[in-house]
Symmetry: C2
Subunit: 195 residues, 2 copies
DNA sequence: GCGCTATTAGACCGATCTGTCTAATCTTGA
DNA sequence: TCAAGATTAGACAGATCGGTCTAATAGCGC
């Protein structure tokens, strides 16, 4: 009878399906624009199933972002590990992944940046989930940059992070994935200039 | 009796007050998160006054963005004209303006980027208004960069535009205005590298 | 087979949403 | 002075929102 909520983050088929469906709709239309009824209709699940796995819509959004973050990080690490040891090749592989993302027909900007736009307060759990993800992003970039043997990799990693954030936003705004090439060129120039 | 809508864009006191109030609330909480009833209560205006001046909430949002775009452009042009002819000083003045913006207590990211996040479809009138604004932004940057006598100013202007977009997003995400310094340093490095 | 839990469909709640309508009032220029 | 347009307050509509609740059912370990 208790119908207690299972421990958060534990993967179950229904929960995963809910998260996947929610992400697709949130990413296409926006977090506030999509109601839970729409998600449930699309996922063909009952309302109580959602509230069995998640405390609230906001809680679902956080879970969506965390799952997405894990997925993205795993993909990036896989790509980097098969890119070999050359720092230049690794950086280019990193950019090549974004190129594929930008050119996919589902591309609709960065789901994390859009979440911050809709939950602007820094203390919001949604905003905090984005911060956690973007911090990992920067850590990866710092590791990438330090491969070049630069004395202080952090500032350069920060700069490249800005270029990528800008490219994500700009590609979405203009509906044009080609801006990523500018980000890549600038990143290579910055690495070269700091050696 | 007809109560026809006045020509769009024509400035009247009530209309201006409505736009100013709407911008403040939209920028603080988000476009979908703020209802028209909230705006009207804050502006102390009646509902029919809003629908006398604007066809819909979306129409109001477009007007808000257009007014903001005009305001920002005027401010930038004023700052550039008092910065004198030195291209380096002009670029630094341009960045200094962002620094003031980032550090203001009202700073909550870029209202245009946040509008695109909430109206992701490129054909949406809101999205289109953002595109118009960002195109002017890039034109200003191109003019700024061409002052350095670079052979092809466009790519460099594009790269700096990405850095600024990234800084806007990143400062909001992390609640930390200091990222702008990284953008400025990278911009200077890119200009230097392309000469 | 039994019993526990997850899941189901859907009614229901109170709040909120955008937008329309009315009817009275204020403002202002001819 | 008077008529036309602008503005008012607020009721109202119809839809949707997130979330709760019930009662029946489905699935599964023992």
């Amino acid at each position: 009878m208790p119908d207690l909520r299972p421990p958060p983050g534990e993967s179950t088929p229904k929960r995963d399906h809910l998260i996947a469906t929610a992400f697709r709709l949130f990413y296409r239309d926006g977090y506030r624009a999509v109601g839970i009824d729409t998600i449930l209709a699309e996922a063909k699940l009952a309302k109580m199933t959602l509230y069995h796995h998640f405390a609230s819509k906001e809680d679902l959004i956080v879970a969506v972002l965390e799952q997405r973050s894990a997925l993205v990080n795993a993909k990036v690490q896989a790509i980097l590990s098969e890119a070999g040891p050359s720092p230049r090749k690794r950086l280019l592989a990193y950019f090549a992944r974004y190129e594929a993302f930008f050119s996919s027909k589902e591309f609709n900007g960065c789901p994390f940046i859009r979440a911050v736009a809709e939950y602007p307060e820094v203390h919001s759990p949604v905003h905090q989930a984005v911060i956690r993800h973007k911090q990992k992003d920067i850590a990866t970039l710092r590791e990438l940059v330090s491969g070049f043997g630069i004395a202080e990799p952090s500032p350069v990693a920060q700069q490249i992070a800005l270029l990528i954030e800008g490219a994500l936003v700009s590609a979405h705004t203009f509906g044009n994935p080609s801006v990523l090439a500018h980000a890549r060129d600038a990143a290579l120039a910055l690495v070269k200039a700091s050696r």
